[in-house]
Amino acid sequence: MNVLVFLIPIALGMGGAGLAFFFWAMRNGQFEDLDGAANRVLIDEEEEPD
């Protein structure tokens, strides 16, 4: 059972990291324009031929 001493903090830490990442993403405006993100994939890069 000693392994729990490691496993539980690891599980909590991973969950907490996911939560922190989600909060960061929201504050960073990652969910502001979901349709736009889907469309931007289709825009060609403007490459200068050199």
Binding site: M1, L4, I8, A11, L12, G15, G16, G18, L19, F22, F23, M26, F31, E32, D33, L34, D35, G36, N39, R40, V41, L42, I43, D44, E46
Partner: protein, 711 residues
């Protein structure tokens, strides 16, 4: 809009941000075109498109003003409008708060479940106690954070001596957490942390769905181009023109009203002859000719030539503001509507709470200790907590509104869907609602050659008549002729050269009764008349509404003869020359007679009726005020979304009732278990997730509700 441009001191250094709405943005190409095109303009540092909200945020030097940026966008081929800083910020904050709470509840639920599963599989002794303590450590902050939306709303309701769905939820969650904490401290067997947090998670999912639905449709409605005159170009003594906000205009100022612009204040024409479109204000379909000395009203649109108008009445004194006051008063009745979830909770909360109290008393009388009695009572509260009920309404409404959006109808909120399902009479405005509200050309008399020449000329101009002509011809798949040397002379028309022949699109030589233009090709000449046409599917839509049991009728401010003609063609009853107050009175009479009228209208004159009706729908081309007053907005030329809205709303309410039925049925099965003290945390958790899944699954059946053709 910003303050008058004259006040913004030109400054070479420093950047500022301005937002514009661009409703025509439809594809990835548009994003690239706008962002790259704007970035090339001198003075613009960066432009970022938000495709979902149909907005573009431009970071530019202060030397560039709004008009210059609008011009740059127009050159790229996009009609845009300056947007207020962020009108949706309030809703946005609420949604974000709910999403954060949902994420926290999800995190808590998963971790507590991890611990709970091991307890359920027979963990005992010190390890179980440790796990209970760990669960408590996670659950307490999670409940405190994720429960806030419910606690706040429950407190608010209790403060006013009322009860809503959040009261039983809050009591259940707080008692469950408190009891579990007590169990943990005394080393008891059962802790309900998982149940409490899971309940919060499911309910927050329902709330977040509800908020997302509201935001999505509001963004869509906000993105539609507003045509109302919110500012006016005022001619200064020196001859320069300064744009001034409508509420800062003063009597005596002279406004230059451009072609296609709406008047921002009432006034008298001082210079020029105008053709005035009063459709928004009065419902009249035929544009009115107005010359020097005639009075024209705020909200009217100037069609053909620029005119100078001396302001006579502003802000609160305009005819428009009078209509707005009527609207405010008419809107009162709708705020008294009680949503189905709250109606259900009025019955539900007392029943559940007395059941819990009774089981507590029952077990005490039967001789169990207060501790065991309390555990049973709380188990009753948890198991009956309206988990499925909290999802029953929002899940169904979100799916339905998503289905309707794909068909071009934006429903503002859940309450609107509930009221739409109940309507039994449909009143339609004529101009702009049953008809397209824009002038379309009658080109039947033209031969193929003339048509293609007319299209080639019309395409070159942004004049309302040219746009109407181009639209009519394009829809007939006419391809434009090759012209050279095309020129537009303001107020005169367009000229060009077709091979060696001179061609022109100009005002007719003799004044005609209806709006028309003359097409000249060499020596030959045609007169093209313009009129407002019925929406292509108006007749089928009315038929569908009748099949749904609604009685349609026309209420219009237009000339009774014109109304009778349309009513005859559609085979329904029609009332003409009605003032906004008369429309309102008609609706009030219908409501008093026990009917639930649906109002469909676009003009400002329909505003009071839209606000007073049991439910209301406006076309996307409607005035801002009407779109705000309406419960739903439909986009495009088809009227069918109106019939679809009623049909889908009814199916949605049927599903909602099934969901409620299921939630109640589940309670009837679970409550005896809880009252007899047989419910363990495991049973509570399984029952809760199962009932939520069934409700969500049932609601998903609505995804295709809008695809079935209305009967």
């Amino acid at each position: 809009m910003n303050a008058p441009t004259i006040l913004s001191v030109p400054e070479e250094t420093g950047f500022t941000d301005t937002r514009f709405t661009v409703p025509d943005m439809r594809c990835a190409g548009c994003i690239a075109k706008i962002e790259r095109g704007l970035a090339e303009v001198e003075g613009i540092e960066a432009a970022r498109v938000n495709f979902s909200a149909k907005r573009v945020a431009v970071r530019h030097s202060r030397a560039l003003d709004e008009q210059a940026l609008l011009g740059a966008l127009r050159q790229l081929g996009f009609e845009a409008q300056a947007a207020a800083d962020n009108p949706l910020a309030q809703d946005d904050r609420e949604t974000k708060m709910l999403l954060r709470a949902l994420a926290v509840a999800g995190f808590g639920m998963m971790n507590i479940m991890l611990l709970s599963v091991s307890i359920w599989s027979g963990l005992g002794g010190v390890t179980r106690e440790l796990f209970h303590w760990l669960s408590a450590l996670i659950a307490l902050p999670v409940v405190a954070y994720a429960g806030r939306p419910f606690f706040a709303s429950a407190l608010m309701a209790l403060r006013y001596g009322r009860t809503n769905m959040d009261v039983p939820i809050s009591i259940g969650v707080i008692l469950a957490t408190g009891l579990s904490l007590h169990e943990t401290v005394v080393g008891g067997e059962h802790a309900y942390f998982d149940g409490a947090v899971m309940l919060l998670f499911f309910l927050l999912a329902g709330r977040a769905l509800d908020a997302t639905m509201r935001n999505r449709t509001r963004a869509g409605i906000g993105a539609l181009l507003g045509r109302m005159g919110r500012s006016a170009g005022v001619i200064q003594p020196g001859g320069t023109i300064v744009r001034i906000e409508a509420d800062r205009l003063e009597p005596g100022m002279v406004m230059l009203v451009a072609v296609g612009e709406a008047l921002a204040a009432d006034g008298v024409i001082e210079q020029g002859r105008g053709t005035i479109d009063n459709a928004m204000l009065t419902g009249e379909s035929v544009p009115e000719q107005a010359g020097t000395g005639d009075t024209i009203f705020a909200g009217a649109i100037n069609l053909l030539d620029p005119i100078h108008v001396r302001v006579t009445a502003v802000a609160d004194e305009t005819v428009l503001a009078g209509i707005a006051r009527l609207m405010d008063e008419a809107g009162q009745s709708r705020s008294r509507y009680v949503r189905i979830a709250d109606r259900a909770s009025r019955l539900y909360a007392p029943v559940v709470h007395s059941l819990a109290a009774l089981s507590f008393v029952g077990w005490m009388v039967a001789g169990a200790g207060w501790h065991q009695s309390l555990v049973v009572a709380i188990a009753v509260l948890i198991i009956t907590c309206p988990c499925a009920m909290g999802l029953a309404v929002p899940a169904a409404q979100v799916v339905a509104s998503g289905a309707l959006i794909r068909k071009g109808l934006l429903v503002k909120d859940g309450s609107a869907l509930e009221r739409l399902a109940e309507v039994d009479t449909a009143l339609f405005d004529k101009t702009g609602t049953l008809t397209l509200g824009e002038l379309r050309a009658d080109v039947a008399g033209l031969d193929e050659e003339a048509k293609s020449i007319a299209l080639a000329l019309a395409q070159q101009s942004r004049h309302p008549l040219s746009i109407g002509l181009a639209k009519s011809l394009t829809s007939m798949r006419v391809s434009p002729a090759e012209l050279s040397d095309v020129r537009e002379i303001g107020g005169e028309g367009l000229t060009g050269r077709w091979g060696e022949i001179r061609v022109a699109l100009e005002r007719p030589a003799a004044a005609t009764a209806r709006t028309s233009v003359a097409l000249r090709v060499g020596q030959a000449s045609w007169t093209i008349g313009f009129e407002d046409q019925l929406r292509p599917d108006a007749k089928t839509t009315l038929y569908s509404l009748q099949a749904l049991g609604l009685r349609p009728a026309i209420v219009s401010g237009d000339d009774p003869v014109a109304v009778a003609e349309v009513a005859g063609e559609l085979g329904i009853e029609g009332n003409g020359s009605m003032t906004p107050a008369e429309k309102l009175a008609l609706l009030e009479d219908l409501k008093r007679a026990g009917h639930r009228p649906l109002m469909v209208g676009d003009g400002l004159n329909d505003g009071p009726a839209l606000a007073a009706a049991h439910a209301s729908i406006a076309p996307g081309t409607a005035s801002d005020a009407s779109r705000q007053a309406a419960d739903a907005v439909f986009i495009g030329e088809n009227l069918m979304p109106v019939a679809l809205a009623v049909q889908v709303a009814r199916r949605t309410m049927a599903i909602v009732r099934q969901n409620f039925g299921f939630a109640i049925g589940y309670n009837i099965l679970a409550v005896p278990l809880a009252v007899s003290g047989l419910v363990t945390p495991l049973i509570a958790a399984v029952a809760m997730s199962l009932s939520s899944l069934v409700v969500v699954g049932n609601s998903l059946r609505l995804a295709s509700a809008a695809n079935a053709p209305p009967v």
